[in-house]
Amino acid sequence: MSEAARIHLRNAQGRHHRRAAAFRWSALVTGGALALIGLSKRSKSGVALAAAGGLLSYAGAKAGAQPRELIARSSILLNCTPNEAYQFWSKFENLPLFMRHLESVTLTGETRSRWTAIGPLGRRVTWDAEIAFDREADVIAWRSLPDSEIYVDGIVKFRNAPANRGTIITAVVVYQPPAGTLGAALAKVLGKDPSFMMRQDLRRLKALIEAGEIPTVEGQSHGPRSSVAAAARLLNPDDPIKGEGNLTDIAQARRRAS
């Protein structure tokens, strides 16, 4: 594996490890903590934080409500040919490099693959999928096999952009989350609307293909952070609940403040 590929993998895995560590935090605990921090701030941002925490707790309490279909839809321009984009995407093992919620995709047959995603609160979901439709340099579609824990249908099209600017890809993925999980409710509360997540994923794909890497500031140096900033980062819609790393930050920042 090249040095560059190793770095991409490490960056991708770092996120997953932290998310996995979040498993032991329930929405109730996190939401309650946010509400407490928020209320203790006695400021406008504090009120917002408390409200968000309250909503999160509410969602936790309400978990188990009806599941609903989530549709993610987005498109992006890539400065490569449709075939190059197709070749990259159709190797499903590449998808976790730019799709943040995916931990891995492994091929299990000629048209079949096993997908593992990390959902809200670090919960792992695994399902098997098969290629439903495939036309080189044009379109590829996949669907999960019957009796999967989660139903995922996806299709992505590759089209020449006008003025030789490259390829416009359009992706649509439909998720049917399992009943009784926090999934859909949390996604809604945290602002993780599926099309937003998809747009972020495609943006990472674009950077990877065009620039050869995904821009990041995770892991860079900084001075002491405040508890407000650490709590706010928990609510970053592009970076779902990460868990203890940030909660430690909060504790440290509060110790420093007191």
Partner: protein, 399 residues
């Protein structure tokens, strides 16, 4: 390492933080030898740019020596030991915008693209030390910095050229030059420039280089106006005149300047009822920017002329004189500086002795003095024009 950190509005401190690491294949680490405080840093100091976070490392004007490069950096363009000046905009070099030479519009360098997208529709490139909306990258008022896409931005500096001549290629010289270029200057033109800070000073000199016959410089500090005058500009101290727009008309036979440049931006000072209204709105967070200079530039500009805006605006403005703008057939040109277009040609101007950028420096201090220098610079005490920080000097040493 030592780093100047934003700890809140008007709160800068020098903190000991971990040295930066390579995070991506095309990163480099630069050991910084000279770094500056920019006028645009004052917008952060004053707390008017949204999405700063306590602990952010400041600074986007720096140069130094490459001490480490990632596996993906093109060795032909950059290697360990190179002495480089680093542009404040971060660009991937390969996207549609980079290929159009619109480097500060790079599509692939802002990890927080979505935040800027909400405010501006699309995101510009990432910047060093300039809000999380624009990337959240750690800045260069420090002893070391991580430089992404290091084979695109950093420019090698010739061995004989001192830091104080080269370091302004990181921002203000190219920014002033692009501001002048955006004026669309034709031979013999008259250009009015609001703001005689460092960018304004470079803009004045660049306007002459680009063929302007008259440059009229507007400010309220005599020491800055004097520097403008030394460069050949006519000067207006706006605090000593009733009506700048009328004076500009009188000075130009009622035609108006061919181009007007706002080298001030979102924290302009002016007077009258609009000042009171804008200032109040800004404090109440109803309007992030105070656009007094922009309004004046639009009103003063001759019909069919060009308004150039190198000054920084972060959000929205009120009472934009759109009627004047439309009915006078004006053109406005703006943008964060497309650094990589200008760095090399301007380096050659310096080498050729056409300009010595070190004239703007008013203060050279150790990095430990940075927090107090923000205040000195903001309040224009001690004839402060440009502060250069030495990251390695002992803070106890003389200023």
């Amino acid at each position: 390492m030592k780093a100047v950190c934003w700890m809140g509005t008007e709160k800068m401190t020098v903190e000991n933080v971990p040295d930066p690491k390579i995070l991506n294949p095309r990163d480099a680490i630069v050991r910084i030898t000279s770094t500056c405080i920019c006028g645009s840093d004052l917008h952060l100091y004053n707390g008017f740019m949204p999405t700063m976070e306590q602990g952010d490392i400041m600074g986007h004007e720096f140069m130094g020596e490459v001490v480490e490069i990632g596996a993906g950096v093109d060795r032909e363009k950059l290697k360990v030991g190179d002495r480089v000046v680093v542009p404040f905009t971060i660009a991937c070099g390969r996207c549609f915008f980079c290929q159009q030479q619109l480097w500060s519009c790079c599509d692939n360098s802002n990890p927080n693209y979505w935040i800027a997208e909400k405010i501006m529709g699309y995101s510009p490139s990432g910047l060093f030390g300039y809000t999380h909306m624009l990337g959240g990258y750690a800045g260069g008022q420090a002893q070391y910095a991580r430089v992404p896409f290091a084979d695109v931005g950093p420019l090698k500096v010739p061995a004989g050229m001192p830091d104080e001549q080269a370091v302004f290629l990181s921002d203000i010289f190219p920014t002033g030059y692009m501001g002048a270029e955006n004026c669309n200057i034709q031979p013999g033109d008259t250009v009015a420039i609001w703001g005689c800070g460092p960018v304004g000073q470079f803009a004045i000199r660049s306007a002459f280089i680009l063929g302007a016959e008259r440059v009229i410089a507007i400010d309220r500090f005599d020491y800055r106006l004097q520097q403008a005058q030394e460069a050949g500009a006519e000067i207006i101290n706006y605090e000593e005149v009733d009506d700048v727009v009328q004076l500009l008309k009188d000075m130009t036979g009622n035609i108006g300047p061919d181009s007007c440049m706002d080298a001030v931006g979102m924290e302009a000072h002016y007077s009258g009822p609009m000042w009171a209204i804008d200032k109040t709105k800004q404090v109440l967070r109803m309007q992030p920017d105070r656009p007094g200079v922009l309004r004046e530039a639009i009103m003063a500009c001759r019909k069919g002329g060009t308004v150039s805006v190198p000054g920084v605006y972060g959000g929205f403005i009120d009472k934009m004189p759109m009627g004047a703008y439309v009915n006078k057939s004006l053109t406005m040109k703006t943008g964060q500086t497309h650094m990589m277009r200008y760095m090399k040609p301007l380096l050659e101007l310096i080498e050729g002795g056409k300009i010595d950028p070190s004239f703007v420096i008013s203060h050279r201090v150790p990095i430990d003095k940075a927090p107090e220098m923000y205040k000195v610079f903001r309040d224009k005490q001690d004839h402060c024009t440009k502060v250069v920080l030495d990251p390695w000097a002992n803070g106890a040493a003389a200023a």
